[in-house]
Symmetry: C2
Subunit: 186 residues, 2 copies
């Protein structure tokens, strides 16, 4: 299950998986400790509080996102880069329909009524928005690139939420196709 040798990373990975499936509030430190093969008390050597684990997960997600988007940048044109982003959702349709978007569902839970953690929730969204905006700019839509990026990211986050509520992965397939067409026609 958890294969990293660095225990701190093992905890972050295990927590990310569990929290994706169960939500942050419903996931206990005891569960995380078991999944990470670390004693419960040891968690507090790596993180001072449960909230800090959430912050670490968000930071890791932003890093993964950056890496993923950087890879897409090797694609020849902005249009295919945007299509590739949508394709990520299409590929992950089954897990997203079951547990929601790993990024969006966590951000939604953290942003709600929390002080310090609310700030963290913005980072992954900004990452997605900024990259998308750059692509729309490259496509020649520099005037309304921010608006188009907002629409794209909203659609991706929204379809994850709707498909999860319905328990219907096919909804993600359908919305992905719609978005692909939209990008091609732009």
């Amino acid at each position: 299950m958890v294969s990293s040798t660095d225990p701190r990373e093992r905890v972050t990975l295990a927590a990310a998986k569990l929290i994706h499936k169960q939500g942050f509030a419903r996931t206990t430190l005891a569960e995380i400790a078991v999944a990470a093969k670390v004693a419960l008390g040891s968690l507090y050597y790596y993180f001072h509080t449960k909230d800090e684990i959430a912050a670490a997960i968000v930071a890791k997600r932003v890093g993964d996102l950056d890496q993923m988007l950087l890879k897409k940048n090797t694609l020849p044109d902005a249009r295919s880069r945007l299509e590739a982003l949508v394709q990520v959702w299409a590929d992950d349709r089954n897990i997203d329909a079951r547990y929601g978007c790993p990024i969006g569902s966590l951000c939604y839970e953290l942003a709600k009524g929390r002080g310090p953690l609310s700030g963290h929730a913005a980072m992954p969204m900004r990452t997605l928005l900024n990259w998308s905006e750059a692509q729309f700019c490259a496509l020649g839509h520099s005037q309304d690139a921010a608006t188009l990026a907002l629409h794209l990211v909203s659609a991706l986050q929204g379809i994850s939420l709707v498909a999860n509520s319905l328990g219907d992965a096919a909804a993600i397939t359908r919305e992905s196709s719609y978005l692909q067409d939209w990008i091609r026609q732009l």
Copy 2:
């Protein structure tokens, strides 16, 4: 704050408000009891479990949604009806940016990794989707009405999530404008 005379309704309303702001898992029965001006023990006269309160909130939300959509049906044409739906999000931008969509954020939390409550999460979404699909049909898009409805509802749910994560109500204004234009051009 809570003005209903029927105590059961008072509990449902108080719980709905608190859970919208704090999330389901983080809201305690003690808080609900205080807000509803009911003794903690009395909650169990009206509801057997905390989960039942969540179910009652969802049922109430579906009822409110039905009523709201029924009102929109008095508008002369399908296009203005769809615009009116989007306008609801634009009007509620401040509260949605702060706490998320009252429907979507609850559904997202309930659908995740829960047995019986997962089923309830689908109902509000289906209500929104079915009504929207009917409007797109009336607009002459009977062929792809379901796809258009899915795109609209996803966009509305998505912008609530993104705006909440960013803490930015203006994002809802911008996406609403985009969707209004989209509806007019259809």
